[in-house]
């Protein structure tokens, strides 16, 4: 059961990255490849706030959310908005990711820093397995986040406007939606989220400059499995990727962990090309 808990916790971290990808995808129809690096910055800011400055965890969460939110807003202004061709955004966001990692390396170096979890770091036994409190909280956070964002997208005006933008950007604009403003706010929100989540991700992964690179690809795989634009899909995708990785490492061998994940991705995409939780739309020809 310890392996199951481990797989679920790591899957939850991947899913959190994928949620960030999804929010940008819904609002801009593109991907922010710097999302995982924003989360890495969140972990570092949490480390600085809790360990170096010894601030209360809730204040650190707010501080990280604001700082990383501002960085994401800056990224949108520099790496997204000036770019005319949508295809080039893949390159510019990847560039932003490399810059963020380089900055983290320069400031904090390549060594990992331990980020204490505010609710304790003692291992607990649950359902026959051992788990850190933060791992349970990560699973809970991702589930609550998906439920909350789903409800927000269905019942709030901003959420409905964002969903409208994702369906048809021009139609939404014609209906009076300020698409550029909403896209900017959604982008900045993913930064706020990545910063705040440093409270939960940092204690699991440590604050380390290579974290962005470790998470970026797996987050994308989670997104592809669950379906681009589907928040519920990120839950299923995270669970599948996390558990596959853990069980393959345990019972087949670590060399087959990534192979198994990508094999499952291929099988799922062959069966459902748009991902598990996306309906294929018929095209009018």
């Amino acid at each position: 059961m310890t392996i199951i808990w481990s797989g679920m916790a790591i899957g939850a971290v991947y899913a959190l990255v994928a949620i960030g990808y999804n929010i940008v995808f819904i609002s801009q129809k593109t991907f922010n490849f710097a999302q995982a690096s924003l989360m890495m910055l969140g972990a570092f800011i949490t480390y600085v706030g809790i360990v170096v400055m010894q601030l209360p965890w809730w204040l650190v969460g707010i501080m990280a959310a604001i700082i990383v939110g501002l960085i994401a807003a800056l990224e949108e202004r520099i790496a997204i908005r000036p770019v005319k061709d949508m295809h080039n955004l893949l390159v510019t966001t990847l560039g932003a990711s490399i810059i963020l990692q380089g900055v983290a390396q320069l400031i904090w170096g390549g060594e990992p820093y331990r980020v204490p979890f505010f609710a304790g770091d003692q291992v607990i036994s649950l359902f026959g397995g051992n788990v850190y409190p933060v791992e349970l909280v990560l699973v809970a956070v991702v589930i609550l986040l998906v439920i909350g964002l789903n409800q927000f997208s269905k019942h709030s005006l901003i959420g409905i406007a964002l969903m409208g933008m994702s369906e048809d950007r021009e139609a939404a604009q014609l209906r009076g939606v300020d698409v550029r403003r909403f896209a900017f706010l959604a982008f900045a929100f993913t930064g706020v989220l990545a910063g705040f989540l440093g409270l939960f991700v940092g204690p699991k992964t440590y604050a380390v400059a290579t974290l962005g690179a470790s998470l970026a690809l797996k987050g994308f795989v989670v997104l592809a499995i669950g379906g681009f634009g589907s928040l519920t899909g990120t839950l299923a995708g995270g669970l599948i990727v996390g558990l596959t990785e853990a069980l393959a490492s345990r019972y087949i061998g670590a060399d087959f962990a990534n192979l198994s994940v990508f094999l499952i991705l291929v099988v799922i995409l062959m069966a459902k090309p748009s991902g598990l939780f996306n309906r294929q739309k018929e095209r009018t020809v």
Binding site: S6, G102, V123, S249, G253
Partner: protein, 403 residues
């Protein structure tokens, strides 16, 4: 009068001739490199401008070289000539290293030696250039051929081989009376080699290897591999791990509640996390209660070792010791150079290289980081005796030494 003039002319020519002969003798006795002003130049390459840990490692290597130059000059220099050090920041990038090295060599002044503090990729790139120019070199980043005298007769590696480190594990495991061991290693080339060679060495020593697992260096959780190894019921776990993966391995062991002795290699000891107090590190926590790590004797502070302590003090005064003292080989390199040059009474790279193979020359160098380098005509790699590799529990690190 005319005869007198002729006599004085002959005498003058004879004096001039003798003077020229004297100069020629002097030149041939210490030929090969050096500056017009009588100083000798040593080039040190290091990735000072690289990112993260590479910069820390380079800072330690460069500091060690600078401190040793000061110490060697204090001891009279080499063959009466003072050493001058020039540092090239190659950013741990082979292209930058080759470009800057070629620029320096094109300036016309031939260095007496070049010291590479950077990774193997830099060594791979610069060694052919140094070979072409017939320049003596000392190298920290081993390559496939860096220790092969038939390929690089003028290069000497300073870091012991993976096999030397592994040979140090066997006596430790036997001393502790462990019979069954499990191995966990990373997916880097060194990690894979560690996994392969440890299994071979342990098996040939009569130890039972109950499991040998690798992990992806980009993975964030090693609990599955650890649980698999736990189920094989070993007496001890031999570990290769560095940086964030080490943090995840220690987390995994704690999570599994696995009370097993963990014997880490030098990569484990080079990770600052284990030498840092909580909350930033894990020193003194339950995660490292069973951990011992392989280090050089010189990496552990010994108040009785006055020569080493003086060297460390000098390094600390000279610059930054950003990593463990394991990266301070350049301190030894300068003394090896002095000993070999003075033994051969020459600054010719070929003569110094020949002298470096003499064990008496190596002993006379009185190196501090490694006690002896044991270069041979078959291999220009240092050979480290197992007794010079010790196993210690994590502790605070001060000036590159565990306290």
């Amino acid at each position: 009068m005319r005869f007198g003039k002729a006599k004085s002319l002959v005498a003058s020519m004879a004096v001039l001739g003798l003077a020229l002969t004297g100069c020629a003798n002097s030149a041939s006795s210490a030929e090969g490199a050096g500056d017009g002003d009588g100083s000798l130049k040593v080039l040190v390459l290091g990735g000072l401008g690289a990112e993260g840990i590479l910069a820390n490692n380079a800072a330690t290597s460069v500091t060690a070289a600078e401190a040793s130059v000061a110490a060697v000059n204090e001891a009279g220099g080499i063959l009466g000539k003072k050493l001058e050090i020039e540092v090239i920041d190659d950013r741990a990038d082979p292209t930058v290293a080759v470009t800057k090295l070629r620029e320096k060599l094109a300036e016309g002044e031939k260095p007496v030696a070049v010291m590479n503090s950077g990774p193997s990729t830099v060594a791979e790139a610069i060694l052919p250039v140094l070979m072409q120019k017939q320049i003596l070199s000392f190298n920290i980043g081993p390559t496939e051929t860096s220790t092969d005298p038939s390929v690089n007769p003028l290069n000497f590696d300073l870091s012991p081989s993976v096999q030397d480190y592994i040979d140090g594990f066997v006596p430790e495991i036997q001393k502790k009376k462990y019979e069954k061991v499990a191995v966990l290693h990373g997916s880097s080339a060194t990690g894979e080699l560690f996994g392969k060679l440890t299994e071979e060495a342990f098996t040939s020593s009569g130890l039972k290897v109950t499991g040998n697992e690798g992990y992806d260096n980009a993975a964030l959780d090693m609990t599955p591999q650890l649980e698999k190894l736990k189920s094989s019921n070993p007496d001890a776990l031999v570990l290769d791990s560095y940086g964030a993966p080490l943090a995840y391995v220690l987390q995994g062991i704690e999570k599994l509640g696995w009370d097993i002795p963990v014997i880490g290699n030098n990569s484990v000891s080079a990770t600052s996390l284990v030498a840092t107090d909580p909350p930033a590190g894990v020193l003194g926590t339950s995660q490292v209660k069973n951990l011992t790590m392989q280090v050089f004797e010189s990496t552990k502070f010994d108040p009785k070792n006055e020569k080493l302590n003086a060297a460390v003090k000098l390094m600390a005064e000279t610059g930054t010791i950003g990593s463990s003292l394991i990266l301070a080989y350049n301190y030894d390199a300068m003394w090896l150079l002095k000993s070999a040059a003075e033994s051969s009474n020459s600054l010719e790279a070929k003569n110094i290289a020949e002298a470096l193979l003499d064990s008496k020359v190596q002993e006379a160098a009185q190196t501090q980081i490694l006690p002896k380098y044991a270069f041979t005509s078959e291999s220009h790699a240092p050979h480290m005796e197992p007794e010079h590799l010790i196993f210690i529990s994590p502790s605070k690190m001060v000036n590159g030494q565990f306290q």
